[in-house]
């Protein structure tokens, strides 16, 4: 109540200041009048009374000022005055202000940009009800596996396991209050909008989800309804879809009558039943955002694949649940793990071996927080982003040290002004506040500019991280968290660099500063006065060294990764993704299509060799299965799995993968001949250490791969997923001999004579010639693919190099400024030395020695710090140790050279000082 009154009174006073002063004037006049009357009544003459009364009252303005400062609003006005004064001071030295604001904008902007991404990827919760209650069964990175789940954490499940848990949950025997499942892979589908399904075909990304997906998440639709459990009760019976806000806007122009409209998805008519709100992107936070969600029971129609919903089906679903906050997580985890083990045991059936039983006892499920959704991007970029966050903070610290130094120097030149203000009765507190205010003015202006810079920077960063995905859930627009972060960083920065000068100012004494030779007094202030700037320079050198050396490590890591042997051709290879399935081809028609494709593509000018396969080089699929080699008795618990790919003729020739033994897959491997497979060295060495792999046969556990396959060749090991992987087992099946769904090839690969991107147009034309309905989903060169697989390394190394150069230039500006200032203050001393006969070289050395000492101290402190930082990032390095001496030496050299340059210029100027001018310098 009283606080409210104070506030309203203050505001009234602030806005009614004129009226109030007029009233006060009238009151004072009355006072004077009465006082004079009284004095005259006591016998004074009129003139004497008037004079006495005026003396008593004193300055009217002082009275007004006193009344005014009795209220809180006067503090506000003082602040405003100080702010205006501060702004004037900054405008008066535009060069300094510009440098300060730009370096702050860069520092704060870099922090904001990285933080925006960190916030997007690491902090943001899904826009659902109570996201902190959501738990994910495992990290959700695996996608699609047949069987052979060994000991260890499990994060992927079959549909019938989900049904089993759901059933138990419905009966209320669980420590979980809701459970939903969704397909682990997003499905690219072909959509025709328009009546009768004859509109143009477009591509969309959809996810298959259980009927209670939306209700467990607690996500409400914007329009219409979400899926209900009844939508996913019987297979193939409820063709409905919920679409995302963005998809609604893009494809239907935000049509308000969308609910109930029909669209054709992969040839089946679906009804749109609802639109989700703008922020809802599903539970997967990855480069591509979802366009639609469909009931899991429509899996055959959406995936154009045989049912995955049967018992003993594929492990292909992720599970999320809502936990009961009253039940400890450990208890829920034990319950889920128990359920999984029982399920796996049941699945094995009666003939389960005791070994397998023991193995199943070692399978467990980790319940992880799911409120932020499932994201492989997060996993991939978490460490790089943390490292970059550290880097940009160091950059900002360096910028702070710079500004602290500049402001210290400025404070010193303002000593007279400040001493005058003190002498005139200004309080020290107010002067300190003034200096801090100027610092904050700088930091907030820099922060505002930084926010704008960050917005642009973040867009570029997101484009990089999302790898050119058209629609990504990551957004550059700063949300409240980001704004608060920037605000806090600006405030912290301002205080950090404003504190030193403010403290210094608070120690200024009146007397000597107002004397004629204030400068001499200040410069003879001794080493303590100059210690702080030196400390700041030393810390800048130290931090710059850490940044430079780390950037060097990352750059060399990137080069090592790029220059290593991938085991295949990394130049002049074009990858084209197409889908015969979307075009309606049946598996039996494929071999004829492949033959036509091969004939046409291999004849294209500029194409050295063309082939096709299920997966291209460096986009690892997740197709793997145990194999049973005839005559090979596996040891208990032996890993008998291999990754699988399916390839057409000329595959190894096209991607330049050397065949070591036997022959490649070729034209002779037809549907009717003996089934041929080529294995890599890792398979051959594991199963056939004597080198007699050729001619052996094996069967594949994946039931869709039928028959016995004969090893016809062995090829060299290569990298199949990414540049850091260890040699992995890989078997290449002849695609023309596969049946059913496995017969589809998705990637054309063309080795070209020149730049592969130039052939892309002709490839598209040739495809259209063969079948205009054959959709091309993606075209990229192997170089682009390689860049993508090295995304984290490129991001870290390029950004950390950029930031360390930024830091280095900031440090240089700082050192240059400090040296210039020191030299300026010592001008008369230098003049005396020169006049007394000191040589120019001696003066030069005297000044340089000081910088050298700072450099040496900085480097001495920086080396152990750099080694410590190197250990922190060790896991991100490749092909070198964190204490790589060459990198460290290079960093020291660079920093030494640049620092000495920054010190040499002012030193040379000092040495050229004319003694006569210098002595008159005061």
């Amino acid at each position: 109540m009283s606080a409210l009154r104070t506030l309203t009174a203050g505001l009234k006073a602030l806005f009614g200041m004129g009226r109030r002063n007029a009233e006060l004037d009238e009151e004072l006049r009355g006072f004077l009048h009465d006082s004079v009357d009284e004095k005259m009544r006591r016998g004074m003459s009129r003139e004497a009374a008037l004079r006495a009364a005026r003396m008593e009252i004193g300055s009217r303005d002082a009275v007004k000022e006193n009344v005014w400062s009795a209220g809180w609003e006067s503090a506000f006005e003082n602040l405003w005055q100080d702010l205006r004064y501060g702004a004037r001071m900054l405008v008066k030295s535009p060069g300094f202000t510009a440098i300060a604001i730009v370096s702050l904008a860069l520092g704060i902007g870099a922090n904001t940009a990285i933080f925006t991404l960190v916030n997007d990827l690491l902090f943001k919760s899904l826009p659902v009800r109570d996201p902190q209650q959501l738990i994910s069964f495992g990290n959700g990175f695996d996608s699609g596996q047949m069987d052979g789940m060994g000991a260890g954490p499990l994060d992927i499940f079959t549909y019938d396991f989900y049904q089993r848990l759901e059933h138990q949950q419905a009966q209320g025997h669980t420590p979980i209050t809701g459970i939903c499942a969704f397909g682990s892979f997003w499905n690219q589908v072909s959509v025709r909008i328009g009546s009768g399904g004859n509109g143009a075909a477009t591509q969309a990304v959809g996810q298959l989800v259980s009927g209670n997906f939306f209700s467990v998440l607690g996500a409400e639709p914007l329009l219409g309804r979400t899926l209900a459990p009844s939508d996913a009760s019987t297979p193939d019976s409820s063709p409905v879809a919920v679409i995302s806000y963005r998809y609604w806007q893009q494809m239907f122009a935000g049509d308000p009558a969308i609910v109930g409209r029909s669209i054709t998805i992969n040839g089946t008519l679906f009804a749109v039943i609802g639109v989700m709100p703008p922020r809802f992107e599903g539970v997967t936070v990855d480069n591509e955002s979802m366009d639609m969600w469909m009931p899991v029971t429509m899996q055959q129609e959406v995936m154009l694949q045989p049912s995955l919903l049967e018992q003993h089906g594929l492990f292909w679903m992720h599970i999320m649940a809502r936990r009961d906050p009253a039940v400890p997580l450990g208890q829920a985890q034990a319950w889920v793990t128990n359920q999984v083990q029982r399920f796996m045991t049941d699945r094995e059936g009666a003939q389960i071996t005791s070994n397998r039983k023991k193995e199943i006892q070692k399978i467990y499920v980790e319940l992880l927080p799911g409120g932020r959704g499932i994201s492989t991007l997060r996993e991939m970029y978490q460490r790089p982003l943390n490292i970059l966050m550290g880097v940009v903070m160091l950059v900002l610290l360096i910028a702070c040290a710079n500004l602290a130094n500049f402001l210290l120097a400025k404070a010193a030149t303002r000593e007279r002004e400040i001493a005058t203000r003190l002498a005139l009765g200004s309080s020290r507190r107010r002067i300190v506040r003034q200096i801090l205010l100027e610092a904050l003015l700088l930091s907030f202006t820099g922060g505002a500019l930084g926010l704008a810079l960050a917005y642009m920077g973040t867009r570029a960063l997101i484009a990089f991280v999302a790898d050119g995905a058209k629609n990504t859930p990551l957004e550059a627009r700063p949300d409240l968290h980001v704004l608060l972060f920037t605000l806090a960083v600006s405030l912290f920065t301002g205080i950090l660099f404003g504190l030193a000068p403010a403290l210094r100012v608070s120690r200024i004494s009146v007397a000597p500063s107002l004397g004629a030779s204030a400068r001499t007094a200040a410069s003879s202030g001794g080493s303590t006065g100059r210690l702080l700037p030196k400390l700041l320079v030393v810390s800048q050198v130290t931090l710059s060294l850490v940044l430079l050396a780390s950037a060097g490590l990352f750059l060399r890591t990137l080069r090592n990764l790029e220059n290593q042997d991938f085991g295949f051709n990394r130049h002049n290879l074009l990858l084209v993704k197409f889908s015969a399935k979307f075009a309606g081809y049946k598996p039996e028609q494929l071999n004829a299509l492949y033959a036509r494709l091969m004939e046409r593509m291999n004849a294209l000018p500029g194409v050295r060799s063309a082939t096709f396969s299920g997966q291209p080089a460096l986009i690892g699929g997740n197709w793997n299965s145990p194999i049973r080699i005839r005559g090979y008795q596996p040891a208990p618990n032996e890993d008998i799995g291999t990754s699988l790919n399916r390839v057409g003729p000329r595959y190894f020739e096209t991607i330049c993968m050397p065949v070591i033994q036997g022959r490649p897959i070729g034209e002779q491997d037809t549907a009717s001949s003996v089934k041929a497979v080529v294995v890599n060295q890792a398979v051959a060495n594991h199963f056939f250490p004597k080198g007699d792999a050729l001619g052996h046969t094996f069967t594949v556990d994946d039931p869709s791969v039928k028959g016995e396959w004969q090893i016809v060749g062995v090829v060299r090991d290569a990298k199949y997923h990414g540049p850091r992987e260890k040699p992995e087992r890989m078997s290449y099946l002849a695609i023309t001999q596969l049946t059913g769904d496995d017969a589809y090839a998705y990637w054309l690969q063309l080795a070209t004579v020149g730049d592969p991107a130039k052939v892309a147009g002709e490839v598209r034309a040739a495809m259209a010639e063969i079948d205009p309905n054959l959709p091309i989903l993606e075209v990229r060169t192997i170089a682009e693919q390689l860049d993508q697989s090295m995304g984290q390394e490129t991001l870290i190394s390029e950004l950390s190099s950029f930031f360390s150069l930024l830091a280095l230039s900031l440090a240089c500006i700082g050192l240059y400024g400090v040296m210039t200032y020191t030299v300026m203050r010592r001008t008369s001393e230098i003049g005396i030395r020169l006049a007394l006969g000191a040589s120019m070289a001696r003066v030069l050395w005297m000044v340089l020695r000081e910088s050298l000492l700072l450099l040496a101290t900085g480097v001495a402190l920086g080396i152990p710090l750099t080694l410590a930082a190197g250990r922190l990032v060790q896991s991100q390095l490749f092909g070198l140790r964190s204490y790589d001496p060459a990198t460290l030496a290079a960093a020291v050299l660079v920093i030494g050279a640049v620092t000495m340059l920054a010190a040499y210029l002012p030193a040379r100027r000092a040495a050229r000082v004319d003694p006569m001018i210098a002595l008159r310098y005061e």
């Binding site: 009283s2 009154r5 104070t6 009174a9 009233e23 006060l24 009238e26 009151e27 004072l28 009355g30 006072f31 009048h33 009465d34 006082s35 009284e38 008593e56 009252i57 004193g58 002082a62 009275v63 006193n66 009344v67 400062s69 009795a70 209220g71």
Partner: protein
Amino acid sequence: MPDKASELVQGTLEMLILKTLALEPMHGYGIALRIEQVSNGVFRVNPGSLFPAFSRLERSGRIRSEWRATENNRRAKYYLLTEEGQKALADETREWGRQIAAITRILEA
């Protein structure tokens, strides 16, 4: 009338103003004059501290003001004690008495 007026003890001016206003509403000069007369000229209050004190008291709701005509037909701002002011005066008088008694005891000990 003694030549030398004493400085007011810190923080007592507001209490003296409240006490003066407890008798009747008064304008600024009236209050100053009354304090000077009643204290036999020991305390002289100048406008530089009087008016800020009015402002503070008015802010805290202990007094309020209104423009009235004076006895010699001039317009002047009169200050009136509010209920809150009466309560504050009683509290402060009691507190002051306690302190004075304590100080006297210490001085006479």
